[in-house]
Amino acid sequence: MSASEPSAEPTTEPTTEPSARLPRPPAFHGHPYLVTVGVLVGLVLVRAWRTEGLLEENLFNTWLYFTCLVIGFWLVFGVAGHFAFSQAAFAGLGAYTAAWMTGNDHPFELALVVAVLVCALVALAFGLLVRRSEHLYFAIATLGLSEVLLLVFHRWKGFTDGGEITNIAPVSLFGWEVAGPDRDQRAFWLLLGLLGLLLLLGHLLERSPVVREATAARERPLVAASAGLPVVRIRTSLLVLGSAVAGLAGAVLVHWRGSVVTEQFGVDLGLAIFLMLILGGMGSKYGALLGAWFYVYVENGLRDVDEQLEGLRDGPLERVFSFSEKLDQYWPIVYGSLLVIVMITLPDGLIGIGSRLSARLRGRAPISAGLGDRLSRPLAWTPPWRRGEPAAVAVERRNTGAADAVDADAVDADAVDAGDGPVVRASGIRVSFGGVRAVAGVDIEVRRGEILGLIGPNGSGKSTLLNAVTGVVPAEGTLEVAGRAVPLGRPPRSRRAGLARTYQTPQTFTTLTCLENVLLGTPDRRRTGAAASVLARPVVLADEKARWAAAQAALVEVGLPAHAERSAAGLPHRDQRLLELARALVGRPRVLLLDEPSAGLNAAETAELRDLLLRLRDGGLSLLVVDHKIDFITALCDRVVVLELGRLVAEGDPHGIWDDQRVVDVYLGVPADAEAG
């Protein structure tokens, strides 16, 4: 076993026990398949009891259709965090493509496949084009995409017949005809089947690394990339998947209704889908059912009320209801206002009320859907290139190359390191922010199995140096890890070379459990994508079990084994630090870079941390520790370097370093007369 394998520690012994001792990760709690079947059966029963007449059947189908669209959008926005208004336009793209296919005498089955493929390809091309953009730019780009698609629907006569397609011939799916007087009835089973499939897809994704990793990529893309996740690939794949779902729903819609017009797929619907998702709640795919129900049935309810008022208008209440408008014309006002109100008051949606209640009953902190988090972020938006930390974006941009991360099989740190040169050798590292030289040419080496302390006053560039070496800020210079060159400015590459880090402020994902947080750092990235989680189920599960075991071992290593299933949100500060450490350790790094690990810890906790780090070093790990607590550094480090104004000014033994006049000057200042002399 390589010296850099922390799990070689005897403390991790319990994890080699059978996995029966492992807690089941939260994603595997409950009986989701039973719940889905229950929901579907419930829908059939409700429809049988409560739905009479064509209008009612039509409404019910519309409800299911919107639900399908919203589940697709749940993947796009709820899971991946893409701020997209294009969902409705993709439904249109699917609808027109499928109608064109069946109109040209292709079978319905093939039409569905082609509709899905076309939507997926368009979404993929779009997603890759605008992969650098976030939030506002992405939103505007999707509005533009919608406009372009709608224009194509309007104008491309050969493809869409000018946007208005009527009299679509009846189709059959594997012999099941969607036609005849009971067309709505038959379409219902089709839509129900589609809904069932989508719920199944949702489960498969939830019970796989996809949703967990997408959550991380959404909440803190940079931290996720530093942990080794292919951020852009994860997010783009969910955009593609969700858009394809919209296309499939649109394809079914057009063959159920038999006719469509372009206006059905406008930005208004794109916005309404937002309302449905947010109102229903993003934390669960079942929220889509609630949100879509509200949207479809409240408008209809207004129409019903209107009919009843009709009678009153001629009677005694004539003067009260003297307006001529129908009540349902006011519907957009209702849902427009609701958008605003729900955003403010119900961050987790209707379904969030339920889960909050049940969480309270079980005495457990609810794991928020994450919107609450997103809602509390600062309002002002600045274009990426003008942000205070230009670096972060540049890195983000580079990540988008993602080629690096895509083949991130595993950290190659397991390879036995040859030779006994330094494990990290960084030379000529320079980082500038605008005109400020934060790091001005630093050469630094971390030797095998040592703890190197990096100290210096505030603003001397310690954290920036750490960020440069781990690729989080763009930097000049060269970096070698275990004798091999590693490009700067690419977090996944640094991670794969064996550098793992923690942050000055703990960067944990509060919407995930502790175990899931640690899992993000697992270097084993085989079959973590959406395709594998659907198609190669048993293998994915086996891989996942191995990953959980490793993650649990890392939690044991840092002393948090009991926290595995708790949300990271409620953790005290010390445990957040340890959790971050576990996430770094699970990747079996060569070198651990810690940015002020003792900050915010009391004396006892600091001592514990010191013992843990010493144990890790004795296990063969090399460490680079930035810290302000001098006694902590003195007790911990084998060697210390001192940084001032972006340059190394001294190096030496942690006890002897204070004999160096330069170091004293750095911390205490130079007397005025000495400076003059």
């Binding site: 650098r132 957009p332 427009g336 955003m343 403010i344 809602l375 509390s376 600045t382």
Partner: protein, 298 residues
Amino acid sequence: MLFAVSAKFLSLAAAGVSQGAVVALAALGFLLVYKATGVVNFAQGDLITLGAYLAIWLSRDVELPIVLAYAGALALMFGIGVVLERVAYAPLRGRSIHVVVIATLGAAIVIRTVLGLWLGASPVALDTPLRGHLWRVGGAAIAYQRIAIVVVTLLVVAALGWLFGRTDFGRQVRALASDREAARMHGVRSARLSMVAFGLSAALAGLAGVLIGPATSSFDLTLGFSVMLGGFAAAILGGFGSLTGVVLGGFLIGIVEQLVGGYVLRDYRGAFPFVLMILVIALRPQGLLPGRAAHERL
């Protein structure tokens, strides 16, 4: 023959410039609020529609002379902007960009629906004192209304440049934008400032409405929304936040759409601005202008 080609070219170019001015004028309104508060108001397009409809109401139902109707519409729009700030922005201050975008889009739907219920959804026309006046140049005829739009756009850019660069208001806005807390501690009255910014921005929307409305023979409730999308594209081309950038971006969009669209893919020219915008986001997200420095962020 040659003459005929050049006349077509000339009239297309003129159409492009005036369309660019329309788009830029629409964008200036939301840029004003963006510079003052860091928020992008997606309801701006429907405020433009509202401005045009208010002018119609004032001239048709209140029977004001058309120029007074314009002035009245602008004044009303200022008030509406202040109300909008109180209702849809102030409660959301400090919330995420998602909330604000969705809330302003919600406000847009509400405005549009109210307008439809109040004045009807059928196409309408807005009068202009310049109606029927054409400038004939080299075989092409350019409506005075379009020339007026170009002139007013340039004037507004100059005025906003002065407002941000030379006035106390501008200094306070810049201070707020760079550090909200520090600015407030130095006595900048942020609430009043953002109300004024929203008011001015809505008045600008009104100005855009009363100028753009008469440029077409008739329009409906979607007048502003599509213009605003073009405005977003122009703003992105110009590097979000730059006043001169958005005007140049607008002209570029208009000229590409009209000139290129005049010769190839005529049916799809409406898509050109958005394709251009998506390409710019893909290739040069900082906008097309060279060397845009950080200090331009106001």
